[in-house]
Symmetry: C2
Subunit: 475 residues, 2 copies
């Protein structure tokens, strides 16, 4: 009955080609890039492809009238089931609404619709000597709407921060269909402290408060130069200590990445030609800025890290930089090849810990791997304590899957125990909300209150981000 | 009756020396640094000086029980009556709760109580080679609690952003006395995307949602070098064009300040020894970073701005930098001396406009000054479009005060017309909330909904930030 009304209502809003209701079509929307989606069957009732704010608003009015869940979706590159219809309903697939509406170089900003893919946005900006600094690994897939909804970042967050830092304003359709502009109506100022900061409340809200239909981003002048240093360590502790030495010298690199022994081993097995030095850890520092400054910082990084590293190399030569980066660039793929029947799973994959706890975290994750008899490969953004853990398992072996789930739970709990978070980058979605009460304590109640105020019927991406159940009828 | 209960209740929470109820004592709390406070008489019922979260929580419980307004106050350096008891009630004076609880250099963060003064915080951090980049003009007065509540910034925001960018977490006492930690309970991670971003919702909320009792800030390595360039322009348009040229060359200065002809004139009258070149505009670029990079950027800035400027000078020599900076540093004081009976008023003093509208804004503010027969001096953070306008009037002349109010209203409306905001730095308080509906449209309704959810009795700093009246009983 509701389903019939839904179909009829959607037909009034969208042309036939932009409503998908076939069984196979809908099945395609039951996946994101996570481990978890494989084992569940989150089939939406309908999928629509909006291309205007009016369409989104009409959809929300229809949905709120009938109490139907609505789930916004970008590229489906997420790792937390965040864009899956865990309670059925309508998926809004924004991948075809991918207009860069305007680059405004004079005002250092850009206006983009939610479906614009990250690297395409930066290609547009490059024509103006500008760039949007956050740099997720999924740049060729992920959409700007998804990046804003998840407050995405990547390897440059250490210097450039996360997506939120660049969002000046949003157009948002609320659960009841109302349309608001955050950050000021028609505002193009770079600074604005008028009013409550709704922009930043919506950034990272994972679609539970409303639907993002336009993003206004501050962008920056593209740096002219770049350099890479690789430092090799025979002691694991020496790596985070070297990171701190570099910070204390007054240098803020644009990226500081780590491969631990598990990752080095995986890379060398995957492609012996890369031939990374066998060691406890390899650090890669990226520095950007003006040519003279980059050279100065590179030389300084070599001088500083030499004190703890067994070997350091620095280059600003593009070919050599690509070689130095090669190990880091293949590690995610390499992990999957550690065993012939293995898959690298995205689960427990982006915990964040205090810098002072990185060594302990890496050691204990290895130990947890041994306890659960699962190979884990560790790498990540050590400069901000964000560790990518890659468990490698046989997905067809239910007993191994069960062990992986136990391992991942232990990794998440370890992050909280060490004063960190279950997620530094990929968000909560439907897979980490079980930890939300532990992570946030009573603040989680306030999150629920805000959700209930903006979405009293709980139709906006229900079952995500907030702790499940107990408090509040609708969350 | 309520007042008696209030006095009795406060005595149970605070020792005698930290409750102020004398008429003169309370009168001292009827001022901030704004023009507006002079003409109103916002006397609180009581002032208390909390020094623990438990005291604040007990105060909020007492206040909510009796429906008494509570107004947090830092140094009173604000310009918007934001810390004044516009509806009476209790002022929480945090100036004596000024402990830097911990500098954690390994994790690049600091924990501070709300009353810590900005420059004192940076003095603590300097011992560790760290700094908190936002740099308000009121550094020797303003408190970190006030900076967070107002999302303060200053002349370095162009490169380093505003306070919000550095706030990793807060301890907040809610209107009903509940205590929450935002950004994760016991979290010391630099990256955390778990949960709704309550931290950023409270930053800039001007005390209307809760009381900030602890601030956890990310801090950065202190740059090793600094340089200043001064460029003189005979055409006003050439100044913002030169700013854009610099950005387009890939340089992001740590500050870009403008003095227009009115400010140059004021400075030279105030102190002829400073002897600024008479011109339509002077730009001062500050660059920071490593020594080699600073020199490179300085030379580049000279090369670029020379094309439009009549004169450019660059220095990294501390004595000469102080001289180049001298005009900018005295302009606020110099404005007040333009006439013997004059005072520079802080009203309409921090509008923010798109970079592309800076020239038009400066011209039209001058024209508005002529129309209203009031001298105005313009300077400010041109790098992010944030203009400081200083009207100079005789405060004892009611007719002039009335004209100043009309001028300031026109300046605020001009900012909105140009796609900017009535406030880039100092906030809304009780003086710009009349523009909130125009600035935010329907988004203002959502701000009200959030306020009503967290503070249903409207006791938290009432009469501030939100549009007055019409919607919602309590706001």
């Amino acid at each position: 009955m509701v389903r019939n009304k839904l179909a009829a209502g959607l037909k009034k809003i969208y042309p036939a080609g932009r409503i998908l209701t076939g069984t196979l079509e809908k099945k395609m929307y039951s996946y994101d890039s996570s481990f978890y989606a494989r084992f569940r069957d989150f089939i939406p009732d309908a999928v629509v492809l909006p291309r205007s704010t009016a369409e989104v608003s009409a959809t929300m009015k229809l949905a709120s009238e009938h109490g139907i869940p609505v789930v916004p979706r970008g590229a489906g590159s997420g790792e937390t089931c965040g864009c899956l219809a865990v309670r059925g309903g309508i998926v809004l697939d924004f991948s075809s609404w991918d207009d860069v509406e305007e680059v405004d170089p004079e005002n250092m900003q850009v206006f983009a619709r939610p479906g614009v893919v990250h690297y395409q946005l930066n290609e547009h900006l490059a024509d103006f000597g500008l760039f949007f600094p956050p740099d997720p690994g999924s740049t060729r897939m992920c959409t700007i709407g998804g990046m804003v909804a998840n407050n995405s970042s990547g390897l440059r967050a250490v210097k450039y921060g996360t997506t939120e830092q660049y969002v000046l304003g949003l157009e948002v359709v609320l659960p009841d269909g109302r349309i608001i502009e955050t950050g000021g109506v028609n505002c193009r100022a770079l600074k604005n402290v008028s009013g409550l900061n709704l922009t930043k409340l919506f950034v990272g809200s994972e679609g539970i408060l409303g639907v993002i239909t336009m993003v206004r981003l501050r962008v920056w002048p593209r740096p002219k130069a770049r350099g890479l240093a690789m430092a090799v360590f025979t002691d694991l502790e020496a790596a985070p200590a070297a990171v701190l030495d570099v910070y204390q010298s007054g240098i803020l690199p644009s990226g500081i990445e780590i491969l631990d022994s598990s990752a080095i081993h995986a890379v060398n097995l995957y492609n012996p030609a890369i031939n990374l030095p066998e060691a406890e850890a390899i650090l890669i520092f990226e520095v950007d800025g003006n040519p003279a400054g980059v050279t100065w910082e590179g030389e300084k990084i070599v001088e500083i890290t030499k004190k703890r590293a067994s070997r350091v190399e620095w280059s600003t030569e593009p070919g050599r930089m690509a070689e130095l980066w090669r190990g880091r660039s293949v590690v995610a793929v390499a992990a999957a090849r550690l065993r012939p029947d293995g898959s690298r799973i995205f689960a427990g994959e982006d915990i964040s810990v205090p810098l002072s706890k990185v060594t302990e975290a890496l050691r204990r994750i290895k130990e947890l791997g041994r306890q659960h008899e699962i190979t884990v490969v560790n790498y990540g953004h050590i400069g901000d304590g964000n560790i990518h853990t890659a468990p490698v398992i046989n997905l067809d072996n239910p007993e191994e899957v069960a062990r992986a789930n136990a391992l991942v739970d232990a990794i998440h709990r370890l992050a909280i125990e060490l004063g960190g978070s279950t997620t530094g980058e990929h968000g909560v979605g439907a897979v980490r909300n079980q930890y939300a009460a532990d992570e946030h304590g009573r603040a989680a109640d306030i999150m629920k209150q805000i959700k209930e105020t903006l979405d009293p019927e709980n139709i906006m991406n229900p079952g995500k981000l907030l702790p499940p159940g107990e408090a509040g009828k609708s969350v």
